[in-house]
Amino acid sequence: MKPQDIRTLDLGIVDYREACLIQKRYVREVLSEDAVDYLLLLEHKPVITFGRVTDENNILDREYFSSLGYDIVRSERGGRITCHMPGQLVIYPILDLRRIKKDISYYIDLLEICVVRALERLGVKAYRIHGKRGVWTDLGKIAFIGVKGKSWVTCHGVAVNINNDTEPYKRINPCGVKGVRVTSARLMLARPVDMKRAKHVFSSVFRDVFTRERKESCHGIET
């Protein structure tokens, strides 16, 4: 099997519910034979999202979020609670894992590795911690994972704090855990990051890693 393209689409700032519909459209496309895979880059309008296995008690200050116009959405993705807002880079790979490896844990490992490499290229030292999902820095957690899959095609993915305010994370239990410190690339570097450059770097790293994975697995695809 010949590796297919991974196309990057920059969707700009998108409402979360609309982004879910957009992803479903691309999932259907990737599910069709010989379709390309996609890498969706976007920012979300302010929203708090819940995965399947958490409850709304993890919102600690509803008035705060209400005053800032946050939407609250129960999502189909995995993981627990997080928040999104402009300035945070969201990456939704729509990938057919049959072209890579049919292993959810392996896929999440790859997402984390991509984020660590991309942040390194932006000058941010970040790392993975065994037993704790997401990407971490010495100042706290900087990236959050939540994935959905259908017939081995992925959607949703990872959110990376680039220039966004991290104050909202103090008003929730991020990922359902109390007292998690949260940071951003802007805080780590003590200066704002050019979002256009950040998108380019993340896109480049994700495409490199997943294209290589597809090439390595294309000798014998399983269905």
């Binding site: 296995v53 995995g78 993981g79 292993d103 959810i104 899959g149």
Partner: protein
């Protein structure tokens, strides 16, 4: 997500493949179908979750949900059966047991 099909000619015991690392706890989040319902090949049957992911599991064949072994909230081990589908044959669902 494909399932392994084992059993006799027209009844399938549905077992999740080795879908995730051995350290991940795989839990059934919800069933999209009930016992006795007809299903089509490719139709979503159930949703499973690990710590950071949810995946829909689809039916490997046309048939009828004959048994459901695992309920929402139950963990599923590798190669553990979650349900039985009686595969549809000409003239209607087959009647043999697993």
């Amino acid at each position: 997500m494909s399932l392994l099909a084992r059993g006799r000619k027209v009844a399938m015991e549905l077992k999740l493949e080795d879908i995730s690392g051995q350290n991940d706890n795989v839990v059934i989040t919800l069933w999209h179908v009930e016992r006795g319902k007809m299903v089509s090949k490719g139709q979503d049957l159930l949703e499973i979750s690990t710590d950071k992911a949810t995946f829909d599991v689809s039916s490997p064949c046309d048939g009828v949900i004959d048994r459901i072994y695992k309920r929402p909230g139950d963990s599923v081990a590798r190669d553990e059966a979650v349900a039985v589908i009686k595969e549809t044959v000409q003239g209607g669902p087959a009647g043999s047991d697993v």
